[in-house]
């Protein structure tokens, strides 16, 4: 029998706010233990939470970026369980009325575009971090109270590679929208996986098994690459699965039982009485809508379509947002956007890198780049000359036409002048000329190079080729 895996992902993302979700402590990674803490995030007796408005805004912004519905009523709830890293022994989260509902993530997969629907995304507080030493343990509460968004996918992912691509696409979107830095090393993204196996074609889902403790996207892929065959093997051997939570052991490369369904927590959710329900107004939502950006995939597809860019170039502009915007501002003025992309990626980016400059203080105007491309396309200058013009334009900010004139770089297409150069070269190089005549086509390139050299790069290489050939064949 053939089996298929059904995977759902719960992704926790730390939001990029200055302060924590309920207090004024810094939301900052790497501070000495228990230095970004106060009575509120330590859960001291008598303290109360006050919602960080930017965390609420970023939650809604995420919803807008992920095509979700934004309910006009959301609330916070208490999720009760005891753990040493929990300051209050309940976590404030959103249970039945989350801030965003539905939505989807689209990404490139297997040569096409895949769409995974989302169940919801809800806002909650992060907890502290336990540390175990030789003889005792400690808790660092710096992370406690950092705003955390949990994004839950529908169980629609069908392979470990697809899960991996989904996670990367989600991360790109969140970084793009300024919602989170998604720095895996700093624990800004964590995820839990739900996976079940069913005979191909069967409608109902198999028993859901949750895997925890993966600290990278490749960890998720590895865990699934282990877990899916494991589950299939159990079934093919006539065994059965029970709902359970398993832990991924990154070193051993295996998953192992953490707790069975019987041991599952009863979280006893109930509405958080210390916080008012959250009812966004039109004006507030409108303000957040102004922060919505074009998604990475949409932008890539648009660049490919509107500017006929190769996918790699489009991707480069998606990654480097300022460079992409600059490209677009030039491309809109040019008849040859593809050439614009080449100049921006191959020349401008390199120049900026070696000079440490930024796009904001470029000396030349976008029009100058357009003009330079027109000079090349109009065969007014050779591409070798264009390189010189660009270098000069980058340093001085002068217009290309001016540089061409000043440096005498105009391409020579005048056949009379070129014929003279060709005659000289053929006379000076009898052997390559003879070789060409004897059928060695490669010899032509050598002769062409000599003509170009003689013309100081100004001769139109196309015309040179034609004339040389004509003369040698005659």
């Amino acid at each position: 029998m053939e089996y298929e895996a059904i995977i759902g992902l719960e992704t926790h993302v730390q939001l990029k706010t200055k302060s924590k979700i309920w207090c004024g402590c810094a939301n900052e990674f790497g501070a000495p233990p228990n230095t970004n803490v106060c009575p509120v995030c330590l859960g001291m007796p008598g303290v109360l939470p006050v919602a960080n408005e930017e965390a609420l805004r970023l939650t809604i912004l995420t919803g807008l970026l992920l095509n979700s519905t934004i309910p006009r009523y959301a609330k916070f709830d208490r999720k009760n369980y005891f753990y040493p890293d929990m300051p209050k022994n309940y976590q404030v989260t959103q249970f039945d009325k989350p801030s965003t509902v539905g939505g989807f993530v689209e990404f490139e997969f297997n040569g096409g575009t895949s769409r995974i629907n989302l169940t919801r995304a809800h806002l909650e507080e992060d907890v502290g971090k336990n540390f175990h030493f030789d003889r005792n343990s400690g808790v660092d509460f710096n992370r406690a109270g950092v705003p955390l968004l949990e994004i839950i996918s529908e169980p629609e992912i069908t392979s470990s590679d697809m899960a991996y691509e989904y996670l990367n696409a989600l991360k790109d979107i969140l970084i793009y929208g300024g919602v989170s830095d998604c720095d895996m090393e700093k624990g800004m993204v964590r995820c839990d996986v739900n996976v079940s196996i069913r005979p191909k074609g069967q409608k109902e889902l198999g028993k859901k098994i949750e895997i925890k403790n993966m600290n990278s996207f490749s960890g998720v892929r590895n865990a699934l690459n282990y877990e899916i065959p494991r589950q299939i093997e159990v079934l093919t051997k006539g065994g059965q699965h029970h709902q359970e939570t398993r832990r991924w052991d990154d070193v051993g490369g295996i998953t192992e039982t953490m707790r069975s369904k019987e041991m599952a927590h009863d979280y006893r959710y109930f509405p958080e009485p210390d916080l008012m329900p959250f009812e966004p107004t039109d004006a507030w939502l409108a303000e957040i809508k102004t922060r919505v950006v074009e998604l990475p995939l949409a932008k890539k597809q648009r660049f490919i379509k509107d500017y006929q860019l190769p996918p790699a170039d489009a991707q480069a502009f998606v990654w480097d947002v300022p460079l992409g915007s600059y490209f677009e501002s030039v491309a809109k003025k040019s008849k040859n956007p593809k050439a614009v992309a080449n100049w921006v990626i191959n020349n401008l980016r390199a120049k900026l890198a070696e000079n440490g400059g930024s796009l904001a203080d470029l000396k030349f105007k976008p029009e100058h780049l357009v003009e330079l491309i027109e000079l090349v396309d109009g065969k007014k200058i050779s591409s070798a000359a264009a390189q010189q013009v660009f270098a000069e334009m980058f340093t001085s900010g002068e217009a290309p036409a001016l540089i061409v004139e000043k440096k005498g770089l105009a391409q020579v297409s005048d056949t009379g002048a070129i014929e003279k150069f060709c005659d000289e070269v053929i006379a000076a190089n009898p052997k390559p000329s003879a070789d060409f005549k004897a059928g060695n086509a490669g010899a032509l390139n050598f002769l062409k190079g000599q003509v170009m050299k003689l013309s100081k790069g100004k001769a139109n290489p196309g015309v040179v080729g034609e004339i040389l050939e004509k003369k040698l064949k005659s």
Binding site: P39, M44, P45, V47, F82, V139, D266, F270, D274, M276
Partner: protein, 484 residues
Amino acid sequence: MLNQLTISELTKKLAQREVSARETMQSCLDQIAKVDGKIHAFISHDAADALQQADAADKELTAGVKKPLLGVPIAIKDVIAVKDQPLNCGSKILGKFISPYNATVIEKLKDAGAIIFGRLNMDEFAMGSSTENSAFGVTRNPWDTTRIPGGSSGGSAAAVSADECIASLGTDTGGSIRQPAALCGCVGMKPTYGRVSRYGLVAFASSLDQVGPFTKDVRDSALMLSAISGHDVKDSTSIPHPVPNYAAALNGNVKGLKLGLAKEYMVGGLDPQVSAALQAAVKQYEKLGAEIVEISLPHTEYAVATYYIVATAEASANLARFDGIRYCDRVPGNDPIELYSKTRGHGFGPEVKRRIILGTYVLSSGYYDAYYLRAQKVRTLIRRDFLNAFEKVDAILTPTSPTAAFKIGEKTGDPLQMYLSDIFTISCNLAGICGISFQGGFTENPKLPIGLQLLGKPFGEETMLKLAHAYEQSTAWHKEKPTI
């Protein structure tokens, strides 16, 4: 005897430099030394710190600084955080915990110039109606030391009644201010939910808790309320409603005001002497020109059950933080679960454990809908009852407690009987409205205070205070003092 003065009497004398804050503070400390061995209203107090604050107040008074409570000694229930002072909530679980911060009400009282001193005894985590559930021993009623002072703010009531302070702060979740005020013969008010910040009040039931004052008369209650009220950015449930000068409303004129009597409150179990006091008050109010209107609060019979579901559910989560990890007296264990169990098993008293178990149960999967969710629905109905009644009347008059103070130990074996002694006060918290208990007379043999309660509209404290004040000033009950 300076310690016997009211806030309004004392502030006048202080402003005129007739007396000093130090003398006043000293006379409270002397009274504590004299009577608190019998009453045990205080868990602890720092005399040196109190006198230091008094000296600072005297300096300001001499410099002509004007603040509404400048130099007034105010004692604090052990559930409200005062920076650098012990915060035990009447429990042994917090061990030697010292609060690292001030509650907003404390900041406000300090801004108003008050001397903040003492930790007042209470039922552990404010759970109880007799102050017998304290890890620091029982507090006794100043009118009869064989009797309970009421609870949970028993220490706050007894301290005011025994003149160990000028006023005090307590907290009220289901009657914990009003019932002990009634039983000790002083004035206790629970403000409208959201009127006073809860920041720094160690939560029992977050949606019901409110801080309020204990005072020797109604005018002082108004003065205290003006000082502690107002929106607080640290408390999302505090409401940005303007704070009036409540004392200015106390003009004695209640002509034409409508007072409701709820037929559902005419219950069996009401002590005849308490009933008589209520009848006398009704007559007195009519004489003062108020109109008496019969009203109905049809969901009253569900109030106690609703309360014990909502309050315990919230408490089960609120008290989860007392686990021995960051603070509390830790009892070690081999793993976190054992550490929690041992710490909590050792640190919490039986009533707290009972309520945590009850609250955990009503929130449990499979029971949530039947208990917690239904209770929330009934709570809405109870609030609606009151809002409907307030369409017809300006305030509702009730006894505060069905009986006067009972004997120590009399009800400890029967939690349900104890819970039922809160029937007149509980609905007020469920509905989020305001309530005040003031002196309505005495029982005979033994002579014990009887409290009357007025329940007011949401943010209707001015009218409620005006009505309580008019009655108080037309009687002499509030002038009587216990002999200790």
